[in-house]
C-alpha cells in the first residue's frame, strides 16, 4: 500500500486560500495505487521537485467552491487515507531531529563510558522521537505566529530535555516491569544490570532538571517539573488500584494523563511559550498535547488486547494479567458482571485470562475504547485551529491520525 506523504500534498496545494480544501479533495480522489516520493524538502516544507501527476493536481484546484465539502475534524477522521508514515510526517523537522540526536548522545555519554554504552543502547534503539518532533513542530508553527524567524536554543534544549525525561522513564519502567526487550532490542537493565539502569535513569532525570533550570523560564520550569512528579503519581495510582474492578473511567483517564499525556502536554505548551505567543494559544497547545497523549494511551491499551504476542514483543493481555485495568476492560465490566469474578480471582485458573480477553472483545469493550480514542483525537485536532494553516499544522494533524490508524 502506498504511503501518502504530507509533503506531496503540500506541494500540490494551489496558491488560493482554499489550500486545505484542495488537499482534502486530493485525498478523496487519489487511489492507493499511486506511489510518490518527495525530494529535497526545505525547512519551510515546500517541495523542490515532485514526481506527482501535476495535471491531476491542477484539475482539482479548479473545482468550484460550492462542491468542496467542509474540512471539520470529524470529516478528516472519516476520510480513507493511505498508511501514514511518521518518518515522512516528521520530514519537515528532520534536520532539527538530527541535531537533537547528536546533542543527546554527547550530553549523556560525556560522564562515563558505561553510561555512554547505555545511552547508545537506549537512544539508538529506534525510538520514534515523537515528543521532540512535537516540540519542533509546535515551535515552528507558533514561531510563524509571533514572527520568530528561527528556532531558539531554548526550543532545542526543551526538546532534548523532553526526550531525556521520556527515555529515563522508559529505562526505569523496564526495570519495574522486568522487561527484557524494548523496541526489539535488549533493555538497559537486561544488558548492564539493574544498578546501571537505575543510575542511568536517575542521571538523565537529574541532567534534564539542571538544563531545565538553566532555561530560566519559571513557567516552563514549573510545567516540566510537574511532569516528573506526575510520572511517579501515575505509577503509584496504578499500583494502588490493581485488580480493583470498581475503578471508574475518570480515574483511568487521570492515571493515563499522569503517565503519558502530561509529558506531551508540557512539551507542546512549553514550545508555544518559548515562541512568545499569546497565553490562549499556549493553552490550546497544552490541550492539544493532552488530548493527543490520552488518545495515544488509549490506543496502546487497545493494542495490548488486539495484537498478537509477536507484534507486541510481550504476551497479549499483559496489562490485564497484572491487574492493570484499562479502558477496554472498564467498558466491558459495565456490561458483563462475570468478568469481575474472573479478574478478582487474579486468573489462577488455567485459561481464565484468555476467557477474560474474549469477554472484553465480546462485550464491545474494544469498540467503546476505540470511540474514546477517536473522541480525544477530534478534540486534539480542534485544538489546532488557532494555528496558521501550513505544513507544520498539517503534520500535527497527521500525528493524531497516525495514532488512530494503529487501531484500524
Amino acid at each position: 500500500m502506498a504511503s501518502l506523504t504530507m509533503v506531496d500534498l503540500v506541494g500540490c496545494a494551489s496558491t488560493s486560500s482554499n489550500a486545505s480544501l484542495d488537499r482534502y479533495l486530493w485525498r478523496k480522489t487519489l487511489h492507493s495505487s499511486v506511489s510518490q516520493r518527495a525530494h529535497g524538502v526545505r525547512r519551510s516544507g515546500k517541495l523542490v521537485t515532485c514526481r506527482l501527476d501535476s495535471a491531476r493536481c491542477r484539475s482539482i484546484s479548479t473545482k468550484s467552491a460550492d462542491t468542496l465539502p467542509n474540512g471539520t475534524p470529524e470529516v478528516l477522521l472519516n476520510v480513507k487515507r493511505g498508511q501514514i508514515s511518521l518518518g515522512t510526517v516528521f520530514e519537515v523537522v528532520a534536520d532539527d531531529l538530527l541535531i537533537l540526536n547528536q546533542n543527546l548522545k554527547s550530553i549523556v555519554g560525556a560522564e562515563n563510558p558505561v553510561l555512554m554504552s547505555a545511552a547508545e543502547q537506549i537512544f539508538g534503539a529506534g525510538g520514534k522521537r515523537m515528543r521532540p518532533a512535537l516540540v519542533f513542530l509546535v515551535s515552528r508553527a507558533t514561531a510563524q505566529m509571533s514572527g520568530l524567524k528561527e528556532l531558539t536554543t531554548n526550543h532545542r534544549r526543551l526538546a532534548e530535555i523532553i526526550e531525556m525525561i521520556h527515555t529515563a522513564s522508559l529505562i526505569h519502567d523496564d526495570v519495574l516491569d522486568e522487561s527484557d526487550l524494548r523496541r526489539g532490542k535488549e533493555t538497559v537493565h537486561q544488558l548492564y544490570g539493574t544498578r546501571v539502569a537505575v543510575l542511568a535513569g536517575d542521571f538523565m532525570f537529574a541532567q534534564s532538571s539542571w538544563y531545565l533550570a538553566n532555561l530560566e523560564n519559571l513557567e516552563v520550569i514549573k510545567l516540566i517539573s510537574q511532569v516528573i512528579k506526575d510520572f511517579a503519581s501515575g505509577e503509584i495510582k496504578q499500583a494502588s488500584s490493581l485488580f480493583d474492578c470498581d475503578v471508574k473511567l475518570e480515574e483511568y483517564l487521570i492515571k493515563s494523563y499522569y503517565k503519558t499525556a502530561s509529558l506531551v502536554a508540557a512539551s507542546t505548551k512549553g514550545s508555544a511559550i518559548f515562541s512568545g505567543v499569546d497565553s490562549s494559544v499556549a493553552e490550546s497547545m497544552f490541550e492539544y498535547g493532552k488530548n493527543l497523549g490520552l488518545s495515544f494511551q488509549v490506543v496502546d491499551d487497545i493494542l495490548d488486547f488486539t495484537q498478537s504476542a509477536e507484534q507486541l514483543g510481550k504476551p497479549a493481555g499483559s496489562d490485564l494479567a497484572k491487574g492493570n485495568l484499562t479502558a477496554p476492560v472498564i467498558f466491558a465490566l459495565e456490561k458483563e458482571p462475570k468478568l469481575r469474578d474472573i479478574i478478582e480471582s487474579e486468573f489462577v485458573e488455567e485459561g481464565s485470562l484468555q476467557d477474560a480477553i474474549d469477554l472484553v472483545q465480546r462485550c464491545g469493550g474494544i469498540q467503546r475504547a476505540q470511540e474514546l480514542a477517536k473522541e480525544k483525537a477530534v478534540a486534539a485536532i480542534q485544538n489546532l485551529e488557532c494555528l496558521p494553516r501550513g505544513s507544520f499544522r498539517s503534520a500535527l494533524e497527521e500525528i493524531v491520525l497516525y495514532n488512530l490508524e494503529r487501531i484500524e
Binding site: A239, S240, S241, L242, F243, D244, C245, D246, G323, I343, E344, S345, E346, V348, E349, E350
Partner: protein, 251 residues
C-alpha cells in the same frame, strides 16, 4: 512401596528449612517414621503396639495433605479449583477418621498454640491490593492460641514490611468462646491490637477490611482433633487446618 520410601524422608512443608536447631525435631520425626515403617513391616508386632490400622491410614492421609499443600502458601492468595477440590477431599478423609468426636468435652486437647497450614479464606483482587499484601507487606505465619482456662482464643497474624528497617509486627484478635455442643463452639469477638505502632500506621486506612477477613466471630465446628492436627469449619463455610506449634507468641 513408594510410600515407605517417602516415610523415611518426611515431607517438608513450604518455608521449612532444616536449621541446626531444628535437627532435634527432624530426629524426632525420623524416629516417628522409623516406628511407622517397623509397624508396617511387622503387622503382628504392630498390632501388639498401641497403634491401629486407622492411625497408619491417618498418617498416610496427613502425608498426602502436606504434599498437596506444598507451594500454595496456605491457599490464601489463590489456588486453582482443582487444588481446592484435592485438599477438600483429603480434609474429608481425615474428618472421617476423627479420633476425638467430642472435643469440647476434652478441651485440653485443643488448648495451646496452633499454626495455620491451610484455609479457604482468600485475600485476592482489590482486597489484596488495598492491604498492600502484593509487594509491600508479606503475610507471615498465622497462629491461634487457645486458653481453655479463660475460655479465650487469640488469633495472631504476623506481618513483615519490606523496607522500613524490615518491620515485623502482628495483628492479635482476642475472642472468647462458649461451648454449643460436643463439637461446636461459638466465638465472640472481644478486641484487636496491632503492634508495633508503625504497623498500625500502615494498616490504618484499611483496618476494617483487615478485620473483616480475620474476624473469627460465629460458630466453629471442630471436625478433627488429634495430638498434632486440628481441623475446623466455621459459620461462613471456611475450612481451617492447623498443626500444633511450639512457637512463643508475645501478646
Amino acid at each position: 512401596m513408594a510410600t515407605l520410601v517417602k516415610l523415611v524422608q518426611p515431607p517438608c512443608p513450604k518455608g521449612f528449612t532444616r536449621q541446626p536447631w531444628q535437627q532435634q525435631q527432624q530426629q524426632q520425626q525420623a524416629k516417628f517414621c522409623e516406628l511407622q515403617r517397623f509397624r508396617l513391616i511387622n503387622p503382628m508386632k504392630a498390632a501388639a503396639q498401641s497403634s491401629s490400622p486407622s492411625s497408619v491410614k491417618v498418617s498416610q492421609i496427613k502425608e498426602n495433605l502436606y504434599q498437596a499443600l506444598q507451594g500454595i502458601n496456605r491457599g490464601i492468595f489463590g489456588t486453582t479449583s482443582g487444588k481446592k477440590s484435592e485438599i477438600q477431599e483429603l480434609v474429608e478423609q481425615l474428618e472421617s477418621q476423627n479420633p476425638t468426636p467430642d472435643p469440647t468435652l476434652n478441651l485440653h486437647k485443643v488448648d495451646g498454640c496452633w499454626k495455620l497450614i491451610y484455609s479457604t479464606i482468600s485475600i485476592m483482587g482489590a482486597k489484596r491490593t488495598k492491604l498492600g499484601l502484593r509487594d509491600f507487606i508479606t503475610l507471615g505465619d498465622l497462629f491461634q492460641i487457645i486458653n481453655v482456662a479463660e475460655s479465650k482464643a487469640v488469633n495472631v497474624m504476623k506481618f513483615n514490611v519490606k523496607g522500613l528497617n524490615l518491620l515485623n509486627g502482628q495483628l492479635a484478635i482476642v475472642a472468647s468462646f462458649n461451648i454449643d455442643s460436643k463439637s461446636r463452639v461459638t466465638i465472640t469477638y472481644r478486641e484487636s491490637t496491632i503492634t508495633p505502632d508503625q504497623l498500625m500506621n500502615v494498616f490504618q486506612k484499611n483496618y476494617d477490611l483487615l478485620l473483616s477477613i480475620f474476624n473469627p466471630e460465629g460458630w466453629l465446628e471442630l471436625t478433627y482433633v488429634d495430638d498434632e492436627m486440628r481441623i475446623g469449619r466455621d459459620q461462613k463455610g471456611n475450612i481451617f487446618v492447623l498443626e500444633r506449634s511450639e512457637e512463643r507468641i508475645d501478646l
